[in-house]
């Protein structure tokens, strides 16, 4: 199954006002050669566009923290949990 299809099974309450993860894509493009986020994010939310820039959508985030830990060049400028009640809500866990 594709990641997007799997994520569609989960319950999410997306915080439209305040993204909980923010990138500085300039850093990702110029400083980060290895881009580990592309392969370690279980939800496959980090992708490359045609120009080789990172695209990221926080809406399907599983809040595991892996991207923050592998991000050595600090392209992720903000990593917090979503505000209370927002984000993923596991029914099984």
């Amino acid at each position: 199954m594709e990641a997007a299809e799997l994520l569609s099974l989960n319950r999410f309450e997306v915080d439209e006002e305040e993204p909980h993860i923010v990138l500085d894509k300039e850093i990702c493009r110029t400083k980060c050669k290895s881009k580990p986020c592309l392969v370690v994010c279980p939800a496959v939310l980090y992708k490359l566009d045609k120009n080789g820039d990172i695209t990221f959508d926080y809406a399907g985030c599983l809040e595991c923290g892996t991207c923050r830990v592998v991000c050595k060049e600090k392209g992720i400028t903000k990593w917090e949990y979503p505000r209370g009640t927002f984000g993923v809500s596991y029914r099984h866990g």
């Binding site: 799997l6 392969v39 279980p42 979503p82 209370g84």
Partner: protein, 427 residues
Amino acid sequence: MSGEDKFDVIIIGAGPAGTACAYTLAKEGKNVLVIERGVTAGSKNVTGGRFYTYALDLVEPGLWKDATLERKVTHEQIMMMDGNQSITIDYSNPLFNKEGEMPQSFTILRAVFDEWFASKAEEQGAVIACGIKVDGLIEENGRITGVKAGGDEMFADLVIAADGVNSMIAREAGLVPELSDKTIGVGVKEIIELPAKTIEERFHLKPGEGASLLMLGCTEGIHGGGFLYTNNESISLGCVFTPSEAAAHGRQVHDIFQDLKMHPSIYPLIEGGKTVEYGAHLVREEGYRGIPKQLYRDGLMVIGEAAGFVLNIGYTIRGIDLAIVSGVAAARAVISGSNPGPAYLEELKNIKLLPSMKAVDGYFDLLEIHRLYETYPKVAGGVFNKMYSISGETPVSIKKGIWGVLKDNKVSLWQLVKDGIRGYRSI
């Protein structure tokens, strides 16, 4: 700050650690507030899927009988995989599940269990406030005196961080360093629904019985492994990877996991099932040596996974029981009335948490043997392939066959002996 606004203890996070602590404190009449960012307790939490029951008995004897647990584990299985072939060891012993006694362990779903457990703490008088994220700590003259949450401030004699593996709070307070991508695992998991009867037939279980299956050789050589736990009416199937190695390997962990589902030894177990949830979670892999040097400071203590209380020793993985035990230890320290920080450390020893983790510290070295994740499963598969290949041709001796397999996999006798000694020393 008015008297009403001040609690004896504020606990951040209503997972097993926070709730066990709140339960124990509230039972002794302490004024406890638990702040949970999820809509309900457990809604942010993911486990592989197994819980060792003794911990709940430490909170309250007999409490487990009422708990929303899944199946008691009666079958312990380890599978080694290489390509399409696999070798499985299945261990069962009725002594772990004697009639009328507390079963040793259960499979578990955290959204279900945590919510039940939190309701039990509430019955004892703890206040559990869900849907609120703690944004930070309040510090006065070097002492933590409360928390900030959504513009509000709440105060307590003691704040306890039970906010899980990423523990933003304990990190902010300088107690826990940032995680390393070399000593954690990222776990991914699907919940696959199947009728209870189908699960029982496929795993040879009686109603209420469950299987735990750990897999080696399914991660394309990346440090990690697979897991499968049978729940009442679903299967938890997942895989854990060390992020630094996954990044170097270059293939998405999601894709490697999807391949595992299609493995000829796994697919028949989940065939016809319906995936209903996809979860992910980080796991600390360092065990005893991963515990932060400082577990408390003035006004603040760290418990549960935030404090590194997780054990992966290869054939079993423990976290929920250790979290509960640490929560009980912290509560006992507070109840003792002495200086809570040092008393907490003392309780962690008395309750056998630190000694238990120290006793298996060597497993980290064993699991660092890289050949464990690809080469040795290949060797084992190769040897079994030789043993069971019968074509009518004159067979080579098994001894010769083994040497051939080792050579094919570029394993020298020297390496084998070295890994053997290292492995033996580790355990």
